[in-house]
Symmetry: C2
Subunit: 217 residues, 2 copies
DNA sequence: TTAAAAACCTAACTTATATTAGGTTATTAG
DNA sequence: CTAATAACCTAATATAAGTTAGGTTTTTAA
């Protein structure tokens, strides 16, 4: 990979900085302001960075800079969340209570009192929630229309998308093949909480077959 | 939070879908194509979504839609990476070998053979690497200019930014207060690997003070 | 059933963003 | 020292993206 000049280095770092700060790729002009130069200079610099393979972009598209070789690695902040049991995503099976483990969750998704449940069944696969995944749930007694919730229907816990249309309440699976659970006036529905995040089953096998070699450069 | 109409719901879902697929917020026109309608219709829909508090945007800015209430939660895929020891980010202190634990890392950052090291010292704080953090390292004997690397200088392991200018090699701290380590011709420098990611120290205290209440809705 | 709101359209228009042209001034490598 | 490249500029231009105006049709709620 080809060397970067000073100015190119500064530019690449500015892209990373702004991207982090704004949560989106900066525009050419935003970079120009940040660096105290004019837009065409930035544009030229971007072409060089692209030639050298550090970034990729889509011609004429706004905010389309993709960083291929970040100068500074990203950071993840994980928090442990207790796993309180299983929850059926297909046929409702089991209930909650008693901690059976922990999952790690990026801390920025957590809000309020959270816990996790291991998913059984395949009724939410279109929402990318699969058997063995963990749903991170914010404990709350009320939910809104179209929230994905964990709810008790009678004695069984389930994950579904909540649909409230006036008086008519349904728990809808996210799976073409399955039918909604319609909640009648006399059915007992308890909202346990709202699903904030999904963690896929953890693969604990070591990535490292051999110990790190030490080779002089 | 106010109810969404059908069309608004479809729009919000399309925003989420495109955002995931493209890695950036879609434009009004891209949404129009996706939904098979014209741009002004989308624009109108966006205003409604904003009024109802589901999204936020910056007037006239391209790709500035921020989702405040996602319809479908994000997913994290974590993998366990073995922690092989400590590494000084200030004064080089200790070496590697022998697994002392594991850290969880989002799987998309991993490439090749990876392991983790716990960081000591504060020489890389400007790169957001703090004492107690874990650096995720890709094992490789060669690195490029401006990579953040783990390297052995004599018998000590350290994390620094590698600077190669022709024959002149330096290990530069990312901390205004500290000086670079200059590598002479006879100094022994072994590159252990490149830092791909940083994980902050894990907070294991439970988030849940009380067990989930069950309150009927 | 009827009025209001939502959802859509076409046709501009404005602003933002990317890009080109053509030049000057540093910097770098031989 | 000199030629080449990089880094910058001003001035325009082209295209993308967002927005407005004014209308029709569909849906929703009273």
């Amino acid at each position: 990979m080809e060397q970067l000049t000073n100015a190119q280095n500064t530019l690449l770092q500015a892209i990373e900085r702004l991207k982090r700060a704004m949560g989106m790729s900066p525009t050419v002009q935003e970079l120009a302001v940040e660096l105290g130069v004019k837009a065409p200079s930035v544009f030229e610099g971007l072409k060089r960075l692209e030639d050298k393979g550090y970034i990729r972009r889509q011609a004429r598209k706004a905010r389309s800079i993709e960083i291929l070789h970040a100068q500074t690695p990203d950071k993840t902040n994980l928090m442990a969340v207790p796993v309180l049991g299983m929850v059926a995503a297909g046929q409702p099976i089991l209930a909650l209570e008693n901690q059976i483990g922990q999952v790690m969750v990026p801390d920025n998704v957590l809000r309020g009192k959270c816990f996790a449940l291991k998913v059984q069944g395949d009724s939410m696969i279109d929402a990318d929630i699969f058997e063995g995944d963990y749903v991170v749930v914010r404990q709350q007694p009320i939910a809104e229309n179209s929230d994905i919730v964990v709810a008790m229907v009678g004695e069984e816990a389930t994950v579904k998308r909540l649909s409230i249309e006036g008086e008519h309440i349904e728990l809808r699976p996210e799976n073409q093949k399955l039918k909604p659970i319609i909640i009648g006036q006399q059915d007992e529905l308890k909202i346990i909480g709202k699903v904030l995040h999904v963690c896929s089953g953890v693969d604990t096998e070591a990535l490292l077959d051999e110990p790190p070699r030490r080779i002089t450069t």
